[in-house]
Amino acid sequence: MTRFLPSMGLALGFAVLAAAGPPSSERDIAPLLSTHCLACHGPRKQESGLRLDSRDAALKGGDHGPALAPGKAAESAMVLVVEGRHPEVARMPHRREPLPAHEVAVLRAWIDAGAPWPAAAAAIKQSQPERPHWAFAPFHQPAPPKVRGADHPIDRFVRAKLRAESLQPSPEADRTTLLRRLSLDLTGLPPAPEEVDAFVSDKAPGAYERVVERLLASPHYGERWGRWWLDAARYADSNGFEKDRTRSIWPWRDWVIRSLNEDKPFDQFTVEQLAGDLLPDASLDQRVATGFLRNSMVNMEGGVEPEKFRVEAMIDRVDCVSRTWLGVTLACAQCHNHKYDPFSMADYYGFYALLNQDDEPRIDIPSPDQASRRAAIEAAARAIEDKARASLPDPDARLEAWLRDTAPAAGSWQPLDAHEWHSQPMKFEKQEDLAFLGGGDIHNFSVVSLWVDVTNTHITGFKVEALNDANLPFNGPGIDGDGGFNLCEFTVLAHPLASLQKSEAGSEPPHNATNSITFSRAIADAWPDGAHPTNTIDGVRNKDGWHSSFTKGRRNQERRIVFQASKPFGFEGGTRLLVALWQKPDGSGRPNHLIGRFRVSMTTRDGLLEVDPLSARQRAVAQLPPSQRPAAAQRELFREMLLHDPAFAEVAKEWDAAWKDWPAADHTSLALGARPIPRKTRIFKRGDWTRPTTEISGATPAVLPPLPAGVPANRLGLARWLVDPANPLTARVVVNRVWQAYFGTGLVTTPEDFGVRADAPSHPELLDWLAREWMQPSAAKARPNHGGGTAAPPAPWSLKNLHRLIVTSATYRQSSRIPPALAEKDAQNRLLARGPRLRVDAEMVQDIVLKASGLLSPKVGGPSVFPPLPDGVMSLAYGQIGWNVSPGDDRYRRAMYTFWKRTVPYPAMMAFDAPAAEQSCVRRNRSNTPLQALVTLNEPTMNNAARWLGWRTLQLGGPNPDSRATFLFRQVLGRRPDARETHALIRLAADLRKDFASREKDAAMFAFNDPQNPPPLPPGVTTLDAAAWSGVARAVLNLDEAITKE
């Protein structure tokens, strides 16, 4: 039966052809080849040796012979292959949907007609059509069409299209509905009944505009649109993956809310988030802003390779940035050139390189009080240094003498280049300077082993340097906590290389007395009381040690320890060393961890070994002539002298004491910082990080404009490029996403994909007009301001201005009722002949219920909170956390502050399609499921709200059922009930009262949080009334309209 299908398809195809005329090579064939063939048989790639981008190439064919037999479609390989009938070749397009029948028919007809090749060679170039794809093309400069009765530019675009479709716009929604819609859109909260009354009774011109301004000025505006931004930013309060540890990055969320409330222009908003740290004199706030990129997940599962998951985070960032600002699926080009859109792997890794040059610090956010106490401590320490300096007759000469005296201690050291290393559960990576940097599953205990082959036969000692790194907390050297570390023991085994078999590359020299190196002494540049370096060679591997539990002044500095071998050693023919660092907290309760970055060196120098009081970096500066040293460095060297030279012991003691009360910051956040030496990026073969190939430098995709002149090829350059007016995507993409938030669907339905496979915009000219207007408001935009005040002049890139523009249009203000004819003609409301009617986002569901009931805490910002969660929910997580329900008002905060744990996202919000924050989300689902009903009916916070609202109804809703029904409706829906609705509520109240009558205890349990201590009730009101009206409140909160923007 399937055999006659092709001919059936053909018949259909001819029907199409008959209507459209004979196939045209330009119109029909070029796009067909471009869409289905050229990705694999084009200029970039020639699978099976076949190219189909010229007639000659097609006739020449590939491994399976010519692709075409002009005039003979039935015999042409191309036809056989697309129909799946070729004896050797699999059906094409490979592993994709077969060509639709009418396209096969077109192909056949074209070949039968002799396969005339499209005239312009350029006509068939994959992904580079003559005219660029609309989204990559420069902005049009459309003037809003003239439409009678429409003044607002948005309306003129929309109505022109409606007219073309013979549709009428809907009338304006009534004021009550409109205010609720506007309040939800601009602040995410429903209006209070008083606000409704005020608006309804404001008969003066400009009432609507005044309400818009009031709402735009509300601090809750930043929350509502902040949550919108958090979706794209994949914000969460935990790392994701198995361990899913808690992270502190809410200060970034606060920054977003603040920035939006200030209406920070979007170009600045962009630059600060991607590169705030790279701006001149970057403020703490601007550094906090860079948390945007740090919202990637982090895998700290035991045994993971840190680099593998660092690369995954980079891949996530490329995806997130390209989706959020550019609306393109650049991520598809990670493993191969993009199949549809004009992005190559080089484009992908060029973009990746722009983001790949950074350290990932955790930054301190001290409270103002802490900041001033810290400043005082720093000043006191400096004063001590200055006093010591002043007490010396010639301090500079004294310093030079000390530097000279200590220079020999620097010695001559050869860093060990380990060929293998091992540790568990943490992993270390070898860096270019032969140091090792730790990552992965952070622990405070481990044995880090290095295997090194050396040829020296006269090894006299070793040195371990504990080094700073911006990726470690407080710069390290410890890997966690306050950056402290503890080294319990240092051991070395040595074995003649000659006696080891070649195959045993990493094998361990046998542990025995004959090859275990003994050390006669260990000295360090500094140690606190009780942490003498000798502890590291005392044979006790799991106790005591050399650590860094200094006060703050010395804690996060680089440290050095030197071990002198009891006698020189080294075998003729080479020696295999197994060097081991045994690390564990010292048992004192101090938060000491592993050395996060360390380097081991050896020396062959004879005599008593010394340890340099200066770090390698400091010593390098010390070797410069004093006149060439920066002032800060000179000061640093002087300080080191005070701290190391025994002659200044008293000063050092005083100096250390000054740091004693250093206050830890209340909060921290995650940020970015440029690496001193940028990381190199290589293209990964097939996207696999273990297969790096060609090195590539930072660049933007070739199809888009290049980086603007004069910007660096890093994050800052990328940010400036994104918001350069020449960039055709950013403004279109963001405007579209804002539009989507209002109308449910964007002008482009796929905000995540503006590529060639996306549907064209419903109103392309409106999209371009809005985008341009947002970036560069036209001067004529100074609309009359009915509020009496002066309207702020429209600022470029102002999001508030964009909102103002949209919500003041008649298009936005239309009634959302759906007449049957319109439902038939435009069910999705793409033409905008009516206003939006949409179930609100997950967070708004909760916020509406809390606000309407009167429970909502108005507090803006701060750490995430823990509203009640049913028992057992957290047990689904591998990395469980204590979900200690927040006290007081923090139970009733806006939903955007709910602690977001990626592996167990808050279920009541997940039911309403909140994104899981595993990746950037620019379009939420909007589902309608039974689980949602269970949430609004039975979830504890919802019930508390119903209870509270019921009680308030009795307090404030008047004495009779009618007025109470009205009160309830107005609280929740903004509007008054009609007679039928009032009646239904009154009947429900009566029936519930009857139902509870025989169950007084149940009534109290339902009506009151604490039935033992019920709240005061108005005179004449009983527990039964309270239960009945809480039940009615619950019903109203469960109405479709309650969680719908009408």
Binding site: G303, Q424, T750, S816, A916, L988, R999
Partner: protein, 480 residues
């Protein structure tokens, strides 16, 4: 109320179209049908009832799936992959050419080979090899197909689980259960189509293991909890009787219908329907999870104890869910990560799971459900032939994560019973015969459910995504 009539007429049209596609398909030919159905699958999720049962591409063998996910990764060497040769190599390193550059989460690749301590024997007519710790699964050896040649790409737990359940190591893709409910809808009107049950520890891969990714949220797995309130927020608030609940819902319905008449938005009709479904779930779920009504011999068969949280109870619950038309039931039992004392650990977990797994197969078979229910058993990867030991982590005689080779077993739903598929080398290190990659397993599961895995797609970001990405071959040898 006119609109309600409109809507019911619309639904009637939709249903008649479905009837046409289902029952008149012969006249259109298989391929055309497939593309029409595919087309419809995309459209149907926007219809008012996305969980309505749908027909797959071709006649399926299995209608529902019970996936016993052994999270943490059980040791195939202690359970199914009989390697007497390991005794010979015990204490020696795995040869370099076998290692092939593999690195591990915890151990050094040259760690010594560790021979398992359990006795293996052949069972049933099929002669399947199984370890002594699985006496019950051994008793259904002829009813299951054992695949000893599974292989995966990931060797850390979270990525490994996510890969096994979504076909990608990157988070955010739809899970297998959500793909299948997206393709098939659900036969159950009172229960979610995709139910997740959990015993033992929390899941490394978290909710991403049963998430809907970019598919509509309605297809995500719904975790059932232990106890009388299996679905979150299922119980009425304290003090509300079922009569009061019904009375409240009647008012909600009345007012919603009233509003529908005023504003004409069909979404309101869907919400009315959602509330009715929710109420039906409230009525039926407590009965569903109440195992005390099961006859004694069934409880004993599984080792289930009503009211207790256990893997055995979950197995019995899974059968009850499938009986009620739930499409995909996934049991997560995260307990197999035996980095230390693999012998004791495997023995302990075998004791917890063996009986109930076998009982599930037997029980389904006796009820005539095994033919239409596909049972799958396995974890995210296997475990090394090399020993894991570490003084600082307090580990000894354990095994590390091993992606190259591990074992799965399947039963029912069109799988060839008694089949023993695939072989590994003498170290149990690499697959040497009939390699089954994760994508192949997915392709095969979809095939058994009636899908061409290349055609069950969803367009997202301009690309037609599928469970098997761009890979996967149906394992023909597994098919009955």
């Amino acid at each position: 109320m006119n609109l309600l009539h409109e809507l019911s007429r619309e639904r009637a049209r939709y249903l008649s179209r479905r009837w046409f596609l289902r029952d008149c398909s012969v006249g259109l030919g298989g391929i055309a049908l497939a593309s029409l159905l595919q087309d419809r699958a995309q459209a149907a999720v926007q219809a008012s009832d996305p969980m309505a049962p749908r027909r797959p591409h071709f006649q399926p063998k299995a209608k529902s799936v019970i996936y016993l996910f052994m999270a943490g990764a059980p040791s195939q060497l202690e359970l199914f992959d009989h390697k007497p040769s390991l005794r010979k190599y015990h204490g020696k390193p795995v040869p370099k050419d076998v290692l092939g550059g593999q690195t591990y989460a915890f151990i050094k690749p040259d760690s010594a080979i560790h021979a398992p301590d359990f006795a293996f024997a052949q069972h049933g007519r099929s002669g399947q090899w199984m370890s002594e710790v699985l006496p019950h699964i051994a008793s259904v050896a002829d009813n299951i197909a054992v695949v000893r040649s599974m292989t995966t790409d990931a060797f850390n737990h979270a990525p490994g689980q996510i890969f096994m359940n979504t076909g990608s190591q990157q988070f955010g893709r739809p899970s297998m259960g959500s793909w299948i409910t997206y393709g098939l809808g659900s036969e159950s009107r009172d229960l979610p189509g995709f139910v997740v049950l959990s015993s033992a520890g929390g899941l490394s891969g978290g909710a991403g293991n049963y998430g809907a990714g970019f598919l509509p949220t309605v297809f995500q797995g719904v975790p059932f909890r232990n106890g009388r309130d299996p679905v979150l927020y299922l119980s009425n608030p304290a003090g509300i009787t079922s009569a009061a609940q019904r009375r409240t819902l009647d008012t909600v319905k009345e007012l919603n219908e009233h509003r529908l008449g005023v504003v004409g938005d069909p979404e309101i009709a869907t919400r009315i329907n959602s509330f009715e479904l929710a109420h039906r779930m409230q009525m039926s779920a407590p009965e569903l999870v109440d195992l005390s009504k099961e006859p004694k011999h069934i409880l004993e068969l599984y080792g289930a104890e009503p009211g207790k949280a256990s893997f055995a109870n979950n197995c019995l619950l899974a059968r009850r869910l499938v009986e009620r038309g739930v499409r995909f039931v996934q049991l997560f039992h995260e307990a197999w990560d035996h980095h230390s004392d693999v012998k004791g650990g495997v023995k302990g977990q075998a004791a917890v799971t063996d009986k109930a797994c076998a009982a599930l197969v037997k029980d389904l078979k006796e009820r005539g459900l095994l033919d239409s229910t596909l049972v799958v058993w396995g974890g995210e990867f296997g475990r090394t032939p090399q020993v894991e030991a570490s003084a600082e982590l307090g580990r000894s005689l354990g095994r590390d994560h091993h992606p190259q080779a591990f074992t799965y077993w399947l039963a029912g739903g069109g799988v060839k019973s008694g089949l023993s598929l695939g072989e590994t080398d003498e170290f149990g290190f690499n697959v040497t015969k009939d390699r089954v990659h994760v994508h192949d397993l997915h392709a095969t599961l979809l095939h058994l459910l009636g899908f061409d895995h290349e055609k069950l797609t969803f367009r997202f970001q301009g690309r037609d995504y599928r469970l098997t990405d761009v890979h996967g071959e149906v394992v023909q040898k597994l098919l009955a």
